[in-house]
Each structure stands twice: as structure tokens, then as C-alpha cells.
Symmetry: C2
Amino acid sequence: MIKEITEKKERLKTYMKQKGFKSTRQRDIIASEFFKCEDHITAEDLYIKINKRHKDIGSTTVYRTLKLLAESGLATARVFADQLTRYEPVSEDEHHDHLICLDCGSIIEFEDPKLERLQEKIASEFGFSIVDHNMEFYGYCRDCKR
Amino acid sequence: MIKEITEKKERLKTYMKQKGFKSTRQRDIIASEFFKCEDHITAEDLYIKINKRHKDIGSTTVYRTLKLLAESGLATARVFADQLTRYEPVSEDEHHDHLICLDCGSIIEFEDPKLERLQEKIASEFGFSIVDHNMEFYGYCRDCKR
DNA sequence: TCTTTATTGAAAATGAATTTCAATTTCCTT
DNA sequence: AAGGAAATTGAAATTCATTTTCAATAAAGA
């Protein structure tokens, strides 16, 4: 777990070097905190979390660093129905989708190869070459549907 | 086609009466224009369209009326990756999904019952009761992928 | 017609995200 | 280690879509 984070930070460093970006204390702290935190966090929420221990790191830098992480391929940005940009760490290759509870707001991830295959098939029918896709269910989770 | 619009406007009137809302010239014009225009329009774009002929209708009212249409079930609000809210007329019962070209921005609708069935199955596996879902492919369309 | 209540439009407010800019820091190169 | 070019930072300002406020107006039932 710790190893995974170190590995990701290593990848980030490589990416930055390659792009001529500099590693900084702030980026290091923000990336660590991001990799360790729960999924689907907004820049604002991550800022609040970080700001508790690091009063000198501004929200602007958090926004910027999350964007950098997304560009480097280590995070994915998503926009759900509430229109906020949320980031989640990229987990290797597999794609997953989301079940979002309209009551408690919890986000459940799932993955289904059959769904993935079907998606590919549909896209190719339209001559579309897919770069990314996004699928969300909105409804009520087991606990909230009472 | 004209008949369809009249019918939709009738439904809107019923909804408004039931809710104690009032029908106004503005709402009538905005709804007509919306039902007749191309899909996936933003409030801003619809406002620009309407403003050409009706200088006295403000953008605020367009925003408000589109929201009203969504509440009444005659329109659906969607947020894609660009974070703008787009509205589309609701077409009876069937659900459709979207292919979005990252180059030209065109939005292709499609519908696949197999996909719908699979989605239902997945949701029930998680004990989720679905209210709505949303699925988008991002990529390059036939024309843009060169 | 009268009167209540909703609606309207302009302007102000909101809120997420981005940009600006001067001060600071990183990371080469000597 | 020191110097210097170039990137980064944080605060404040800016943007831009959307929402709210509020006084004036319009709708619709009595």
C-alpha cells in the first residue's frame, strides 16, 4: 500500500522530469494525500484535508496539481450530475463505472467485462474510435432505498 | 411534427396548472423554441436563439423555464465533460446514450436494448434501484478520425 | 374588476475553476 | 557552492455558468 504510493510518486516524478516540470514540496504533499485518500474527491475537499496540516498550501495549487496528475495519467477527472470535477487515482488498466446514490451520495464502483465489450461493439458500429467513456447509474443504494 | 409540439405544450400546461404555476407568453415562446430546436442545447444558446426575435425575454427566464421543463418531465438535463448543462426533449419512454466527438463536438445518440438490459442486471446485483442513468463515449467520429 | 400570488428582467451574488503577477523556489550550469 | 534562467507558488482578481434578489408586472380565480 505504502509501496504503491511510492511507486506512483515515482511515476509522477518521471513524467515531470520528462516535461521539464519541477518537483516541489507542495506537489509531493498533495500527491501523497491524494493517493491515500478515498476516491472521487473534489479539489476543494482535498484542499480542506491538506490545509489542516499544511496551512501554507493554497487551494490554487491543489487545483493545479490535480490537473497535473490527470495529465500525467495518474488520475482521472470525472464530472457527475452535480457538476463538480472529481478526481480518482487511476487503477492500472481496467475501467470501472459508477453507481451513485441520490440519497446518501455514496459512489460505488463496479466493473463488468461484458459491459465493456458491448460498449466497444456499439462504438465500432458508428465508426467511432473511443478514447474514454463514462457511465453512471443514479438511484438508491441498498441502505437508502428502505 | 407541429402536432407533437402542441401536444407537449399541452402537457406542460397541465403540469403547470396542477402545480399552481402560471402560463406566460415567455414560457410559451421558450418551450416552443426548445421543442423545435436541435438536441442538447444549453440555456445560453437557447437564449441567444430566442433573443434574436424576442429582445424582451431575458436569459434568466430561459434558465428558469428549462429547469421547469425538466421538472415537468418534458426535458432532460445532462452534464457532459465540458461541465455545461444541456437540455434535450424527452422522447417518450426509450432511453438513449451518447457518442461525443472530441474534435468537432458533435453528439450522436444511440440506443441499444441489450445495453439497457445489461445495465439493469448490474444494478440489481448491487441492490441498487435505478432512477436514471447516463452513459457517454468520448472519442473521434467517422469524419474526424481521418 | 379586484386581489392574491406567481413571474419577470436586471443586477447582484454565488461558487467552482482559472488566470495574473510579484515573490520564491527548483534545478541546471559553472 | 554560487549564479541565474525558468517554473512554481499563493493571494487576489477574473471568468463564466447559474442562481438569487427584488421591485415592477402579469396571470387567473373570485
